[in-house]
Every structure is written in structure tokens, then in C-alpha cells.
Symmetry: C2
Subunit: 333 residues, 2 copies
């Protein structure tokens, strides 16, 4: 559990894309953001107050979050100086970088001396159990995709916002590093040891109130041969009551797999339901989320209407339209 | 890769069950076994020559394999003495124990001083790649089960023997600790990090001659919610050309999951084929392996005939009947 609120470290990020983790936190958990910290040459701006470390601490910030990718996989001396000073000022550090904070001896030494925590969100910090398959109380919804990176996290976060806006009880449950940094908690599922994958998802989504929804962040795709095992562990560990199908219409092949074409939404629906009902016989597909970012507004509208008619399910692009109709579908379940 | 042949360490195993790894090696790779090493109080006998460490070294043994489970998860002082002496005599050590050889400082120190290897087969020793899904040359067969522990490893090893006896080109590819100790090589799939599961199976079953069969050891079950992700990674990483369905008829529920009943062979066939054809559209189910150990000979025979008629596929118990008919089915594919 990462302590909030955050000071967002942008470093020398050349543009918004390099700082997409920071943008994600700002967009989805603005209440977690006290300000931003930029170095000379930073080419992007979150629109938050620029603060020194001591100003941010005075304003209540508990953790400095590295919201930017580093070039070449090395933590530069310019970054290191800020990170060490932040520990000395009383910040914890949180990072999703491939190279780990815990592998930097100077950061480890200063963190130990100051009693501060180093959170590498790519690495599990919990000894997860083996899944026991026992039915839990409360409700769960999972986004499943025709492919990787089709908008499952975005769909989950948009749904979380829409459900809270409607006064529904909902908790977004991250299973990837960006989601974990956004909410401060979760399971880095791609780094969990095989035998404990489903158990980690059970752990992430425990018993809850009968009218509470866990919104489980999806990963991979049942149809993506590199990561399908992770997707199935989410389905069987999560015991979802509801599935949302996610798709990006313009792709010519599966991400990173040139020889593999994407499945139809019908194939995804049938395959995911078949497998999900092994763990929860009541599971239903309740809606469809389409990522239309590479389509014109008219094409997107036409495509959504066609899918909605064909599949008989509410079909939205949550980025263009919000996730209200998906939230309504869950409320009606 | 563990160096063969082996001296099999039985320690103070009270009975054959406690030494089942040693029995597996003796049964399936007798050519790898130089002799056995037993301590005072050992209650079982592999029927191999009892040898001292130096006798076994003189007879060519390269590795001392711990073929017995230890009680309480502690490597006793009586065992330790033998293990240290074995390193000094020039043996490598290999173990599938939960507590690792590498976590014992004295063993590590002696192994370093003598230049010997400590193989903990529960722990991956390779940095596996992410699966790329590219079709490999050669053929592959995978055993899939209605449940865990229904005889998938036994089926694979029996098939390996039957295929070699027929002069077919075949390699058993272990994915669990017992199989790895039996053959000296393999992937401990349940301990692989999620993102690399399918890639480790691709790594295990590389390009080969067109008429060569990799016999991939199955794990878990698509229907077992604790481990299904591992099973799917095997199917998508292995790209099997052929599946063999494995089943034990007498179970009242899935292993360790009291609320879950076993699927039918038809459900297993349809689900496994659906998923396998995503990676290899030509995949076929070629036969059925039934574990009839808890049935009388007459009941077993009747059951096998019934399954064969119902499913239209050769159905055998490889323990009672060998795997000849399964090998023939592969040869005919």
C-alpha cells in the first residue's frame, strides 16, 4: 500500500507520452496529487503546481511517484539527487521502472537510514496464497479483450468513476503497474509466480458487501498466446459476475503476433463466458467497450451502433462517451 | 541440465511413497541410475545396488539426486553430512525439496569451494523469453486433464517409452519437478513468472525434425481454477498438434476444490481444442488416457470400452496396458 497523496516526479520527460503514468494519476485520482516536480529541460506540464520537495511535504505529500519512463533503463545522477533528497525530506518513493529502486545501493541505504519505503510496483510485495475457488460475497466485474492494450484499464477506471458518480459502491482493483501507481494498491499480476496467479486475484478481491462491485483490471487476452494464461487466471481467480468485452477495431493482427488475427466479439464472448462460468455459473456479459481513438467521430458512432445492434449489448467508447451505460448495465444485473 | 547418471539418495525414507521421486527415476530412466544410497532406518529399497559415495563415483555417477521428501521441511544433520561429503567426492546435488539447497549456507560454501553445482529443480535457472507464437518445426503432443493429478506425467512418460520402442523420434519434455529429476532437464512451470510461462514452453520445445515428437508434460487443468492459467500457457506455448485427454473416473470433486465437480471428457475435448486451435489450427485430440488404479480389472475394462465407443478415440490405461495405441494414433496423424 503506497501512502497518498503524491508529489509527481516528471524528471526531464520530453513529452506527455514519456510521462503517461503521471497523466494517468492526474486524470483518475486528482485528489491524490499535491503537485508536480520537474527538472530542467522537462517538456511537459500536468497543469499542477510546481513544488519543491519541502513545499510538497508541507502541503501533505507522503510519496514521490516517478511518473515518467527513464531513457536507457538507467536512473541518472540528476534523478538520483532528487530521489535521495526526497527520502531525506521524509517522502517514500514509488516507481514502475524496469530497473528497480531496491537495486540502487545508495537509495536503499538512505531509505533504511531515514526509515522510508521504496515501492517497486513491478515486483510483488505479498506472499499470495494458492486459489481455493471459494465463492466470495460482493460482486465483481472484469474487462476482457480481443487483444492486449485495447483499453481494459481505461474502461475499468471510467467505470469506477461512473459508478461512484451514481452512488454505487465500487473499488477499482489494479493488476498492472500503472493502475497500482494510480490507486496506490494492487497486484502486479504479470510478475506473480505461475502457481499463485489466481490466488493473488482472490486476495485482491476479498469478501465485500453484497452490493459492492470490485472492478478488476484486465490483462492480456485469452486469444493472445503470449499472455493468455494470465488472462485465464484473472477469470478464474476473479470469479466475475459480469464481463465487459473490450476491442479496438482497426488492428490488422494481434499485438506483437503478426501471424495472428483478432477474434470476433462473438468469439470473445463465447470463449470468455465458457471459462468464466466454471468459476461462477451466473456470469454474464453486460456490455462492450470500443476503443475508437483511430476512427473519426462519424465512423466511431456508426461502428458503435452496428456493434450494439449485432451483439444486443450496450456498446460505448468510454473515452468519448463515458461509461455511464456500462454502469447502468451493472446496476441492472 | 543435470549431469547423469545418478546415485539416488533415499535417506531415511520410511516407505516407497516417501521416495516416489526415486522410484520414478528408476522406473523411467533406469539407464540414469548407478545405485542407491540409504541411511539407517530407511524402510524401502529400489532394488538397485547399495553404494558408498566413492563406489558410486567410481561407477560413473555424476549427481546425487535427493529422491525422497523430507519431513518437516528441514534438511536434517544426518542428510547434511552425506550431502557435504558428496560434494567433496565430486558429485553435483539435485533436489526438488521445498526448502532449497541454495538456502543452506554450508552446502553453498562447499559447492563453491569444490566447483560443484546445486540444482534446485523447483526454481527456474533460465531467463525465459516472452512467447512469440511463431510456428516451430517438428510435432508436439500435450496431455490435458479433467483435473490435476490424473496421470498426465505418467501418460507422457509411457508414451515416450512406447514411441521409442516403435522407433519413432520422441523427447519427453518435463514441466514439473519430478519429471525434471527423471530426465535431467525441463521447465519448473509452476514457478515461472506469469509473463514468461508460454515463452518457457516455447523454449522447452524448439524447432526440431519434421518427424520428431516433443511429448510435453501437462500441468493442472483448464477446469481447475487454481492452476488453469498454467494449463492454458502450456496449450498456447506448446502449440500442440495432438492432445491426449486424461481422466480419473472415481473422483467426487476437483482436487482441493470441494465445490467443483469434474467436467466430462466431451467438455474437456471441446474446451481444449477451442483454445489449442488459436495457436495451432490443425490440432486434434488423438486419444484418451484413463487412470483406473482405483477400479477392478473388470470395471476398468468395461469403462475403457464405454469411453472408446462414446468418444470414438483409442482409450487406454497406460499403467495397465502401456501406451502403444496412443503412439499408433500419433504415428497415424
Amino acid at each position: 500500500m503506497i501512502r497518498t497523496p503524491y508529489l509527481l516526479f516528471l524528471g526531464d520527460a520530453p513529452d506527455a507520452l514519456a510521462a503517461k503514468v503521471a497523466y494517468g494519476i492526474r486524470d483518475w485520482r486528482p485528489e491524490n496529487c499535491v503537485g508536480q516536480y520537474r527538472l530542467e529541460g522537462c517538456g511537459t506540464d500536468l497543469g499542477l503546481a510546481d513544488m519543491s520537495l519541502s513545499e510538497a511535504r508541507a502541503a501533505g505529500a507522503e510519496t514521490l511517484v516517478i511518473g515518467v519512463a527513464n531513457r536507457g533503463g538507467v536512473i541518472s545522477q540528476a534523478w538520483k539527487k532528487v530521489l535521495v533528497m526526497a527520502l531525506e525530506e521524509g517522502f517514500d518513493l514509488a516507481s514502475g521502472l524496469h530497473n528497480l529502486l531496491r537495486d540502487e545501493p545508495d537509495l536503499v541505504a538512505v531509505a533504511e537510514a531515514t526509515g522510508r519505503a521504496l515501492h517497486d510496483v513491478r515486483v510483488p510485495e505479498v506472499a499470495y496464497p494458492i486459489a481455493d475457488g471459494v465463492k466470495r460475497r460482493g460482486k465483481r466485474v472484469l474487462a476482457v479483450g480481443t487483444d492486449c492494450s485495447v483499453g481494459k484499464m481505461y474502461t475499468g477506471l471510467a467505470l469506477d468513476r461512473a459508478m461512484r458518480d451514481k452512488g454505487m459502491k465500487a473499488t477499482f482493483r489494479p493488476t498492472g503497474q500503472t493502475g497500482i501507481l494510480i490507486t496506490g494498491d494492487g497486484v502486479p499480476l504479470d510478475a506473480v509466480v505461475a502457481d499463485f496467479m489466481a490466488g493473488s486475484v482472490e486476495w485482491l478481491t476479498p469478501d465485500n458487501e453484497d452490493d459492492h462491485w470490485d472492478i478488476i483490471e484486465g490483462q492480456g487476452s485469452l486469444f493472445h498466446v503470449s499472455y493468455s494464461g494470465v488472462s485465464l487466471a484473472l477469470i478464474h481467480g476473479g470469479q466475475p459476475d459480469a464481463l465487459i468485452l473490450c476491442h479496438e477495431p482497426v488492428r490488422s493482427h494481434m499485438r506483437g503476433l503478426p501471424g495472428y488475427s483478432l477474434p470476433s466479439l462473438e468469439a470473445l464472448r463465447d470463449t470468455a463466458l465458457l471459462l468464466a462460468r466454471m468459476a461462477n455459473p451466473a456470469c454474464e456479459v453486460v456490455g462492450i467497450s470500443i476503443n475508437t481513438q483511430h476512427m473519426s467521430a462519424e465512423d466511431a458512432e456508426r461502428y458503435l451502433q452496428e456493434v450494439e445492434a449485432r451483439m444486443g449489448l450496450p456498446s460505448v467508447d468510454p473515452f468519448r462517451q463515458g461509461a455511464d451505460r456500462l454502469a447502468d448495465a451493472l446496476a441492472a444485473l
